[in-house]
């Protein structure tokens, strides 16, 4: 663990983008989620959500499964590596959050 500034420099940009952070945070709390749930979590349109999921999938963070039996359904889950990445990202975020709250202006 480095200083807060080193932590900020190490932030994973793929995961940290606000919409993708909401998606991965939700997925970190469950085994898998369907497309509609992720849409409700993020408030994104279907096209935008698909675009973010494609980026996460290309980065190996999530796995996407499409079932066509009956009603078409898209299920998304974190890959094992993605779960480690997102957990580490959350730890870093919480550390930065605590550091920001504890910080006092030396000039004050």
């Amino acid at each position: 663990m480095g200083t807060p500034f080193e932590d900020m420099a190490d932030i994973d940009r793929l995961v940290h983008e606000p919409a993708r952070l909401a998606i991965t945070s939700a997925l970190l709390s469950c085994e898998s989620a369907d497309f509609l749930f992720l849409q409700r979590i993020t408030g994104l349109s279907k096209g935008n959500l698909s675009s973010h999921l494609s980026k996460l999938s290309a980065g190996g963070v999530v796995g996407i499964e499409k079932s066509t039996d009956g009603r078409p359904r898209t299920t998304v889950r974190l890959t094992p590596g993605g779960r480690v990445t997102v957990s580490a990202h959350w730890d870093r975020l919480l550390r930065l959050h605590e550091a920001a709250e504890a910080w006092t202006d030396p000039g004050a």
Binding site: A26, S32, D34, F37, R40, G43, L96
Partner: protein, 207 residues
């Protein structure tokens, strides 16, 4: 940089995702309404119970479909903590309930000034919903209020000396109180869900 406000929102998202089923409060609303129905209809009008059960079961199916189509679904993580909360804690309730019921019979409390059944209902409410009450403070509050109302000797205020929760003529106060609690808590859960998951933008694309 993610602001504290965003962190709070992400915490809400994680809490709702972890226990999505718990926030689908309209299920509880249906159960609560069924209990209220029982409180008014059960005593002396048993023929109404079967249609009431079918109606409640039908409403639960409709509510389940509504949630699936409006909010989507998640498959929860089966962690050890979740198994303890979902299985072991409610299972612990059974022997505890048996002990308390036996003791109340031994000490002649079945029609006394306090209500063991009311206390057990409050305990079950707390066990079935706890201990993750971060965004569901209404459950410990409701359970504590019901437990307090059950153990206070309110029977001394009634002409018969019986606690109001033990009255078995309609409207029966215990199912009425429990049903009302479930209705209110269910609506509050649903409100949390709706506030955390805003409506998805409508487009013509398919997923």
């Amino acid at each position: 940089m993610t602001s504290p406000h965003d962190i709070d929102r992400l915490h809400r998202v994680r809490a709702v995702t972890t226990d999505l089923g718990d926030y689908k409060g309209l299920h509880l609303l249906v159960l609560g309404l069924f209990l209220v129905f029982l409180a008014f209809a059960a005593a002396g009008r048993g023929e109404l119970i079967a249609p009431g059960v079918f109606l409640a079961a039908g409403l639960l199916l409709v509510v389940g479909r509504y949630y699936r189509e409006r909010f989507g679904d998640v498959r929860p993580l089966n962690t050890a903590g979740r198994v303890v909360r979902r299985v072991l804690l409610p299972l612990l309730f059974l022997p505890l309930a048996l002990v308390l019921i036996t003791l109340s019979n031994v000490f002649g409390l079945t029609d006394g000034p306090v209500s063991v059944a009311g206390f057990l209902s409050a305990l079950l409410l707390a066990l079935a919903t706890g201990p993750r009450w971060r965004m569901r403070a209404h459950y410990p509050v409701a359970a504590a209020a019901m437990a307090l109302a059950s153990v206070l000797p309110l029977g001394v205020l009634t002409p018969s000396g019986t606690h109001p929760f033990l009255v078995d003529s309609p409207p029966m106060p215990l199912p009425l109180a429990l049903g009302t609690v479930l209705c209110v808590c269910g609506l509050l859960d649903h409100r949390t869900l709706v506030r955390t998951l805003p409506p998805a933008p409508r487009t013509n694309e398919t997923d």
